[in-house]
Subunit: 387 residues, 2 copies
């Protein structure tokens, strides 16, 4: 297997981008990544996307974007794994390079969620849940996460206020990210007074519906220095994917993200690094409860004590384990099929020392974890920065 | 790169399978392929599918099927490239094994098209065309193919009757395939009298709307003999994918399938075989015109003379280049995201000598070509059978 490096990154701002269509978003991110890598063509384009068919009436999306970008002729395919589509596309791109079947691959994620009415978009998102055993009963993702949060608070005797540090940290970090959707600070007081959406989840626990696209350029590690104009090479030290039951009620323990455990364990082993060596962790904070469950399943905190990483300040930019360093899903935004690629792009920014005011000091090993559904598909990447 | 072999195949009958849901179809094909390979688990499942979101309200499909089959925990992702989704999933599965990131991979294709009204299904299929520049103008796939056929007849002075041998051959071959949807012979006379759907295309030029699923098991070539109970090893000698503009009107020459040319040339080069060495060719006869254009773009016939391969009988089971040997899209059926996997399964049946009454004598090298949209994504595989 060939080692694989990331030599180019690109992203659009995240927000309600009514002036940009699906294909324009994909175009902008791909072109930005190609410029960053200094390439004019590629062998393949893999696009992570969940809802183009449902919300934009467009499948065959990867070929459309390849065509629109001017890459007619190259290989293209769309990769779908619900909200983990982005990281799944990065992983397929990595496989293409690692196998030797391609030399220069673009992995992108794109999602357009704001051209439809909110209830249409919410119904679209529910396509990631089990249609026959969850959605048919009226369970949206919000409802499923609300039940998980309520159960967590009950099982572990944790107050709602204990979750506040996660959105507070995310919003604080978003202030330093010019592409973030919500770059404004929030206080614990504001969190506690925020409108309830589905108890106990309030609006500041919830990532927004939005549009966005991001892309990375992947090449063989031993040729990485030919690209990117000396910006530094970022090696993909690990890529691992695991699944769980689609329906939350089928899980052995709904409060343990088994797929996060499996994929992070595989990733630590592949990369040959321990948890303590992770300098930053872009985790999947679609809802505050997901941050806590991911931290616990990956072993960064014991069961029931993930919230303490928030309370202690460990998750901030200057803490022991900075998370959501550019705003996370909560404040950068969560264009679902693009999110996993944004996470990888942001880890690369940190490892290159390009994170501006949000730079994590001496960042060398970064982890990104993208979650599909309520923990049903979880893809973990570990990246290592080199000079 | 590790060489990759196919050691297990599975398929469901193709038809209007109202008693089977999407997940049951996927289950049946995957379990059949696992039994054929003699495996009880796998590292990953990649599922080719185009319309699960649009027609069944279900995305996150690969994880759902992994769960439903009892493979909880393994990697899973859905691969979408319109009607080429199936072959794209086989290709991603091959990359996973070739790269060394996985050892035992299941690539499946599944599509459920008959639980919706025909016009809903037709609208769903149009998601593979350019939504803004083709579909908005009212162009369905049928309309696009009708224009291509009309143009072909005009450019090359070819009669409609010249296309008859393609559906006649497909239906004749379907009689020997217990999984075919339309296993009945048709005559040239019946073809000429068939009801017009969109002139010049008639109902016997058109592949049917249907349900079905197929799957293959992929392992490293050098370990292939550990699987499949001595059924013979089939090596993936080439896998290549190429694209063209999504919109037909953007093509340099609408009658030349440039992506078929590119992907077949790459495949011949990878496999180190010439066109003359291909013993059978499972091509993508979604409409009769597509068979002819594919044969020409792959170099099996000069421009404007693909129809002669039908007239001469070269395409029949005993001809020089047997095509659609198990009935093809026309008569086996075309469950869109599954079709590319059916094609690969059927090539494996031929190379193993398991094609029953449809066996192509001394078949050793088989080619499968899966087309997404009106030629926008084309994936070509060349398989070689070994004892």
């Amino acid at each position: 297997m060939r080692d694989v490096a990331i030599v180019g990154i690109g992203q659009t701002p995240v927000g309600e981008l009514w002036e940009k269509s699906l294909r324009h978003l994909g175009h902008d991110a791909v072109v930005a990544a190609m410029r960053d890598a200094g390439i004019e063509t590629a062998d393949a384009l893999f696009v992570g996307n969940m809802l183009s068919g449902e919300l934009s009436g467009q499948e065959h999306l990867a070929t459309l974007i390849a065509d629109f970008v001017g890459l007619r002729g190259i290989e293209a395919a769309k990769i779908e794994a619900a909200c983990a589509s982005g990281a799944a596309a990065v992983r397929v791109g990595m496989m293409a390079v690692a196998s030797g079947l391609a030399d220069v691959v673009i992995a992108a994620g794109v999602e357009k969620m704001t051209d439809t009415l909110p209830d249409e978009t919410t119904a679209g998102l529910a396509l990631a849940a089990d249609q026959e055993y969850e959605v048919a009963e009226g369970a949206t993702f919000l409802a499923l996460n609300a039940m998980l949060m309520q159960r967590y608070m009950h099982e572990h005797g944790v107050s709602k206020r204990a979750f506040a540090p996660f959105p507070v940290n995310a919003h604080n970090n978003a202030r330093g990210n010019p592409n973030a959707m919500f770059p404004m600070a929030i206080s614990v007081d504001k969190y506690e007074k925020a409108a309830t959406v589905a108890p106990p989840i309030n609006v500041l626990d919830s990532s927004p519906i939005c549009d966005g696209a991001a892309a990375v350029v992947l090449v063989p590690y031993d040729r990485a220095r030919e690209y990117g104009a000396g910006k530094g090479v970022v090696r993909i030290a690990a890529s691992a994917s695991a699944t769980d039951t689609l329906a939350v009620h089928d899980r052995r323990d709904p409060l343990f993200l088994e797929a996060a455990y499996l994929s992070s364990q595989r990733a630590f082993a592949q990369a040959g690094v321990s948890r303590d060596e992770i300098d930053l962790f872009e985790l999947h904070d679609a809802f505050s409860i997901m941050s806590v469950l991911a931290l616990e399943a990956c072993g960064f905190a014991p069961r029931g004590r993930g919230v303490e990483l928030g309370e202690s300040g460990a998750i901030t930019l200057h803490g022991r384990l900075p998370i959501t360093t550019m705003g996370g899903l909560k404040a950068r935004g969560h264009p679902v099929g693009a999110t996993g690629v944004y996470q990888v792009v942001e880890v690369v920014q940190q490892l290159r020392g390009e994170a501006g005011p949000n730079q994590v000091a001496n960042a060398r090993v970064g982890m990104a974890q993208n979650i599909g559904g309520s923990g049903a598909t979880i893809v973990t990447h570990i990246l290592v920065g080199e000079d």
